[in-house]
């Protein structure tokens, strides 16, 4: 991701995610993919607003809804498409699929909560290099005990972890009032972790919040948290969406692309849109042309030491 986080660039990055994921959902019935996937359409501003500020070597820990994080982190769109298609050229050679992306400084896994202790451990390792770790989690994931073990450890040892809660108000189909007691920020304050909270899908607001948060972290503040109240327009995974369509419509009013796109002049926006269209198209075409993962490439689960 380029250092120059201009409004145009922010728009481009969000649009890349949006168009990538829309393409995934469109193409699924065509049999391009196998398995399932979780898209985050509507939540793009979080990934872009935060990860646009990531410096090289800083680590991202993501979850099942990871495409946006991965692209905003700077991961290859073609490799991501290829991974979803089970190609040998995928991020993990087709082994991981949609929710298990492992790249140089990027780690996503499909077991909710389990990644948080990993994030804290990575921060313990990265502290030596003055690097930090950015860890994403959803509102539903706050149900997992591992999260609190992680917060305690991170706070006790003042580790450089930035916890980003994407509260899209649902855990799968369960609305937040049925799965979460109390208020999200208090979950961090209980461990003495400073937390900021914002109900927004505006990428500029999120970028500003993240900028100050990352700045504090880079100056050795110890763990920080950012709670972003957001919404996902797409279904949880591929299946039916059982939410009230009016609710979805209401939140569409603050579609991050619309909000931020309105700031750009149409003549600036249009070339970006064309370029992104082109990029997404090429990524999927390249992925489709790539060889499928080959059973002969299967290696043993245990190596032979160093």
């Amino acid at each position: 991701m380029p250092a120059e986080l201009t409004p145009a660039e922010l728009y481009r990055q969000m649009l890349r995610i949006r168009r990538f994921e829309e393409t995934v959902l469109e193409a699924f019935p065509r049999g391009w993919f196998y398995g399932t996937t979780h898209t985050g359409i509507g939540q793009e501003a979080n990934a872009v607003g935060v990860l646009g500020l990531r410096k090289p070597g800083e680590v991202v820990v993501s979850n099942h809804r990871c495409h946006g994080h991965f692209l905003a982190y700077g991961g290859s769109m073609t490799a991501l498409a290829a991974e979803l298609m089970g190609r040998a050229t995928g991020v993990c050679g087709g082994r991981g699929g949609s929710q298990h992306l492992i790249d140089k400084d990027f780690y996503a896994s499909g077991v909710l909560g389990g990644t948080l202790p990993l994030a804290v451990g990575m921060a313990l390792a990265e502290r030596r290099r003055q690097h930090l770790v950015i860890a994403f989690l959803g509102d539903g994931t706050l149900g997992e005990g591992a999260v609190y073990e992680s917060l305690n450890l991170a706070a006790l040892w003042r580790l450089p972890v930035y916890f980003i809660v994407e509260n899209n108000r649902y855990a799968q189909t369960t609305p937040i009032h049925l799965h979460l007691a109390g208020e999200i920020p208090a979950r961090f304050e209980a461990f003495g972790i400073p937390v900021e909270e914002r109900d927004t899908t505006d990428v500029l607001e999120i970028r500003d919040l993240a900028e100050s948060g990352l700045d504090r972290l880079r100056r050795g503040s110890g763990p920080q948290a950012l709670v972003l109240h957001t919404y996902r327009f797409s279904p949880h995974s591929r299946g039916d969406d059982l939410r009230d369509p009016r609710e979805i419509e209401r939140f569409r009013q603050r579609d991050p692309l619309r909000t931020h796109g309105a700031r750009l002049r149409p003549e600036d926006r249009r070339p970006i849109e064309a370029e992104v269209e082109q990029e997404v198209h090429q990524a999927f075409e390249a992925a489709r042309a790539a060889p499928v993962a080959d059973a002969a490439s299967i290696t043993p689960a245990l190596g032979q030491g160093t």
């Binding site: 949609s98 298990h100 993962a293 059973a295």
Partner: protein, 344 residues
């Protein structure tokens, strides 16, 4: 004809109707969704107070179930994917399975933990596993696996309403859509059942020569074994019979012993990786029972995580062809290496 899904769903409904002590808990179990695999569909509409959607807290809700059971309820906890069962490992091994015995048999833990296991849907390394082997060995826990050969509904109902010990109830994802007894109803097979609450079935081709090979299996693999039996008979004139278990542990050996005494050759089939798996228990227990009078191999997943990509997943999980190949190798006493075992 009814599907495994419908039968399990109706068993839950009957249980809720039969006793006010029954409660169903799990992530996303409420209507209209009715659970990730729809097993709880409709239940919350009829019994809103006794069907509860939980937070994403596998350890918590299994522990909750233990506490409920200790105080007179008969809870059924759904773990959305069996892959997450290790999160509840401590609740199962150190709490559910222990309280009754440690209390000097003064208390009971009538808890059922239901969970879908298994792959073949491209869900990747953390949503495709068959992890039951990691918990099955715990003393004080019963493990039952649904199968499409034998209606699992009454078994689930018995586990909920009549069994006072904790039960891990495993449901392979691909079974849900299967018709119960589908393969067995055409008269092609001769079927013998043993045991009461969680029976096993011994299945062979009707009118075929005496079998020379025994498959031991459960769950979805039992269906694959049926296919393999068919192919082995018609393509290779190798006659096999299968003992399909529903209660995996404790293992009631007798039907298996009976078959293997005849065939002197045993292939165990499981979808999870074989190391310290159910097949190893079956083989060892049978050697102890019968002595060294039969040959044996395990067919199981290759010992690696389950990849997301279709061709990779197919290569890792045992397929009908693997069963056929293993059966042929065994009948030729070919020891060049059993199926799906490697050095990993």
């Amino acid at each position: 004809m009814t599907t495994v899904l419908a039968s399990l769903n109706q068993a839950l409904r009957r249980s809720l109707t039969a006793s006010l002590d029954v409660m169903v808990l799990g992530e996303d179990v409420l209507d209209p969704y009715g659970g990730a695999f729809k097993v709880t569909q409709g239940l919350s509409s009829t019994y809103p107070e006794r069907v509860l959607a939980t937070p994403v807290s596998e350890a918590g809700i299994v522990g909750l179930g233990v506490g409920m059971a200790l105080r007179g309820l008969r809870p059924v906890v759904e773990i959305m994917f069996g892959d997450f069962l290790m999160l509840a490992g401590d609740a199962l091994v150190n709490h559910a399975a222990k309280f009754r015995w440690v209390s000097n048999d003064r208390v009971r833990v009538p808890l059922v933990v239901r969970t879908p296991m298994g792959g073949r849907r491209g869900y990747g390394p953390t949503h495709s596993q068959s992890l039951e082997k990691h918990l099955m060995g715990a003393a004080g826990l019963r493990t039952v696996a649904a199968s499409a050969l034998l209606d699992p509904g009454p078994m689930l109902e018995a586990a909920i309403l009549s069994d006072d010990d904790p039960t891990l109830f495993v449901e392979h994802k691909l079974l849900y859509a299967q018709q119960i007894g589908a393969g067995l109803d055409g008269g092609e097979y001769q079927v013998q059942s043993a045991g009461e609450r969680y029976p096993s079935l011994t299945v062979r081709l009707a009118g075929a020569p005496a079998p020379r090979l025994t498959f031991a299996s459960y769950g979805y693999m039992a269906g694959l074994a049926l296919e393999a039996i068919h192919r082995l008979a018609y393509e290779y004139e190798l006659f096999a019979e299968m003992v399909a278990f529903t209660q995996l542990v404790p293992l009631c050996l007798e039907p298996l012993a009976q078959s293997v005494r005849q065939t002197r050759a045993l292939l165990t089939l499981e979808e999870g990786s074989g190391v310290l798996g159910w097949g190893s228990e079956a083989i060892s227990a049978l050697v102890e029972e019968l002595g060294p009078v039969f040959d044996a191999r395990r067919v199981s997943a290759r010992p690696v995580p389950i990849p997301a990509s279709l061709p990779l997943e197919q290569a890792v999980l045992p397929q009908v062809e693997d069963l056929v190949r293993a059966a042929l190798a065994m009948s030729n006493s070919d020891r060049s290496g059993s199926m799906r075992r490697s050095n990993g």
